[in-house]
Symmetry: D2
């Protein structure tokens, strides 16, 4: 069954990735695209500076871009939002109040206690928070968020390992420039360089991870009680976030246990979910961003280099930050909303 | 007072950096250069493919390169060695047995219990191990080692913080390609990429750090009992290793304590030692490899981003890997040997 | 109709690209793979360090690699050769003498007067030289060469423009590192740099272009009499050669004439030949290596920036150097050999 | 004798390079800095985001930034301008009318017939146009321009070769990202890529070169009658423009003639002018941006790869685009103005 969908913030980097994923999607059909007022009224092909190496899809090229306003768009079953968070903060709620169901990649409201923050393979059951949300906000619509790209890269592996009683996590990230948007990192800043700071990123990784790994009792969400400490870096790589993780457990876990746990963890089966969810490499030098970011349409989580450290298991993980980590994450949440009957 | 010196392995990347540092050095005068047998007999300017952007120094251009053999070189007060470790393993001992004092950057024998592994600002007193070494090996000469470049970047900051009782360290490195030698990393491997593995590097960081921070009672060296866990990555940066460190302490330490400890730590005063030893940045996005690696002739340790984590202090540090981390480290050890009367 | 094929030099960079193209090919079936003697006897998946981001094809993973010797391989209809030219010089003739038909990417013998140097869309008729070759060499087999990657990028556009009487060409290249093989350019050489020299490349572009654009009267090949002057540079790009061309003509040609000539030129229709052969961009900043090298499976020639200069037409062109410029070029020649009945 | 100077547009990339060069300058003393109104009133160290790896000079750190207005700044002998050309177009004339002498790097008015466009080593005599300028414009002040960075890289070599009767030039450029300003090229645009178009650059190279090489009879400037055709590319290099040049002559010139002409050409002796002006490499793979851009404080022109082509001499040249090609070019013009008595 096909659902009609729209994209809020369709001309930006994640907006373009959303269109790239939604155009061939078996269950979704794009009928609305919004952008800022300068773009409104133009056909999409003129409004967007298309920067993906595959051509702009015919299905969207001639759609007239609308303003990002509930009154300006046609009625659709589902909206994907990749608005800048400052704009999202302001208008996403307007859409929900107007009855729209929104799957949003924007960082605003991710930590609100009645907003489900979801990676379907990790915590699909948190979607139940939507009942709480509708009660508290009086919405006909609904708002689901996916986490930050650096969080998504790591959390599926932590979920797989949580059977050993995750107690403490250290993570250092090597993040690609595309995560900052098309113009976020200048070439003068990053060529022959690295930047050991990404504003707000460490806090997001810490709080979002604990929320994602937390438990929902049907009424309230309790965050996981593991401590998470992140150190975030930008490096001269185009796509693909690579992360070094140290995980500690209440119970002991061998490398074999950890590999087995990762390889067998699947979570849920949705159209865009890869199988297996996590690919574990034996070669210690893998995964690598350029070689492994495109696996399974950029949706697979890759892990490798599992080794015992004095206090737990140490490993590396990788995901495509604008596919699995942003646009693909929103699409997965849209698929979950469809499966659970919210559309 | 001037000492005559030689360079073993003078044509390689670190050998060239040694020459760059020794040429203008006030206390050392280059009189011998060795390389492999293909280069022996040629003037240095022909034997070496000079790859540093400043011109080859006149003082060495016409020196005839000798074979790396104690019988092939003139008598000099001090030898610097940047031999490949497989070669160093074989011949450095020959030079020491023949009476030469060797300051070596090669990784062989660094962990031998009668070989001092020294960063002068950190553990100059370990030089006393040379008496043990001469007793046990019957040498007239002596062998001092400096640690691996990734170890050097971090250990001065840990030493400064050890006043709070260092108990546990996690470190993730973002290492420059020059650390693998001129041809160590191909462009196809690293452009638009990162590699989460450097063979043997994590073990070196862990064992060398504990030896450097250990205590010497005049007879034996006891390693520091902190646990150290490293995760090493190669990134597309030319020079400068950047590291994310989490340090835990027996006593508590605030960020202010830690900044004060780093800024006031100096260790020892040698001609090539920077003042201050550690520069601490307030800006969270610093230090950065390209902007900060050249400070104080590439000899300063830079730190920044100090913040409290749940279990200690988290920060970033940086050093120029082929200057402070290799050639400059050997030169500092040579200066220490001169000061302590070993030449 | 399916032909059995083999790959000489199957473990190298171009060898892997050949396998990537031949595995899904409708008309060819891989039955033999050769490499150096260290690899011989191993299954291909162990002999090759697979470096392409798509997985190693199942169809070849278990093929036992043979030595590069006519007696060591099974009988196949066609061999593709990506041997180093020094090896190719020695053994390709042995295979031809033993009756094999060889489509070779190696640079040896490209300029021999009885060896057809072919881009099927440009000079398919030169294949007639094979009769001359068999007469002069007494071979049952046959040897066809494709040109150098930098030559292939430019020559289809020159052929299209030759209707205006090409008289003189200046070309400057910006070449990707993959053209030098996996280990050809170190990261220390090329990051934050460019190298204005590639040994032998300018001479190849000049002589090969004139041979490709030349005319064959059934007995002898006459080189085109245009002058060609090349300036070749290596830049920090992974794949895709970009070239700036100035073309002068005996007759005048406007930009519109030139665009029309390029867009309408097709040459020949083979399974791997793109349609159109040449894509002409209106946007002056295109084509760009990263955005345009993958078009039409990496087989399309892209052009753009056409403008009148005082003495002719100036433009830019681009092709994927290891697909259209090497492995794909050999496959196209194999398709031409099949079509013309040589298999 | 010391002259007081100011910098218009002091916070931008070229403005910072100007300060880096003027701070240690023997003849100039910085007394005024201007920027946009948001920066005005702040001390320079707060107004500028300092991005050069050497620290911000003490001599300027506390200067209060003024608005870019003749009434807002103290009286100084000479102003250097690195204003955006749109702003420069508007306000540089105001300063000249108010009596200031301006050495400007901005592109506006470079081609005006009464504005000298000068590289002191090439056409110092064109400064005589200032008399024409003052007559026509009624100014007490004066305006001198330096050309575009890509033009400066090539023109000194062409001037040296003009003794053979320069008739025609083809030039392809490989330009560094710093030429577009700090934020001019995003990392997403240029990593693993190249862009064959820089807006307006080719026209600047063509027209400016002819003006620089032209002759001044004391009243009027006649442009050189050689044809110049440029093709401009941006590549992933931080600093240093590399250019491939083909030069044709009325008289013949051998490679030896050309090398001799370049090596012996000096032009004029000013404090910041390198000696020799042009360094000619024998090694065909040099000059290279990273290895050679810093020679002689970034002020030397490097050339190499001289070879005969069918119609003239072909070679490569290189200069540091923000030093020799921008800030250093303005400083040289300031030195020429001082020497010629205009201050």
């Amino acid at each position: 069954m096909t659902h009609t969908v729209g994209v809020l913030g369709a001309t930006g980097a994640v907006g373009q990735r959303l269109i790239q994923l939604l155009d061939p999607h078996p269950d979704f059909e794009i009928e609305a695209l919004t952008a800022s007022s300068e773009s409104a009224g133009k056909p999409y092909r003129k409004a967007a500076k298309w920067r993906i190496s595959t051509p702009i899809p015919d299905s969207v090229a001639e759609i007239t871009v609308a303003e990002t306003d509930p009154d300006a768009i046609p009625d659709v079953d589902l909206l994907f939002s990749s608005l800048p968070s400052s704009v999202g903060e302001r208008v996403e709620s307007d859409f929900c109040e107007a009855g729209y169901v929104v799957s949003s990649n924007s960082s605003n409201q991710r930590m609100a206690e009645d907003v489900p923050l979801v990676i379907p393979e990790v915590n699909a059951d948190h979607l139940g928070l939507l009942e709480v949300q509708r009660d508290s906000r009086g919405w006909d619509g609904a708002m689901v968020k996916n986490p930050n790209c650096s969080t998504i890269t790591m959390v599926p592996t932590l979920k797989a390992l949580d059977e050993f009683g995750l107690s403490r996590v250290h993570v250092a990230t090597l993040q690609a420039v595309s995560g900052a948007g098309y113009s976020g990192v200048t070439s003068m800043e990053i060529i022959d360089n690295a930047i050991p700071h990404i504003g707000g990123e460490e806090e997001k990784m810490e709080s979002e991870s604990k929320k994602l790994l937390g438990s929902f009792d049907g009424a309230e969400l309790a965050a996981h009680d593991a401590t998470v400490s992140a150190s975030c870096n930008r490096i001269p790589t185009l796509d693909g976030h690579l992360e070094n993780v140290w995980a500690e457990f209440e119970a002991g876990a061998t490398v074999e246990d950890a590999v087995e746990a990762m390889e067998s963890y699947q979570g849920i089966d949705l159209p865009s979910s890869p199988d297996p969810l996590i690919r574990v490499f034996e070669e210690p030098e893998r995964p690598q961003p350029r070689l492994d970011r495109e696996r399974e349409n950029g949706m697979q989580i890759c892990a490798g280099g599992l080794r015992e450290s004095e206090t737990g298991i140490q490993y590396n993980c990788l995901a495509h930050n604008t596919l699995r980590g942003a646009a693909g994450a929103s699409v997965l949440n849209g698929e979950l909303l469809a499966k659970e009957g919210y559309l």
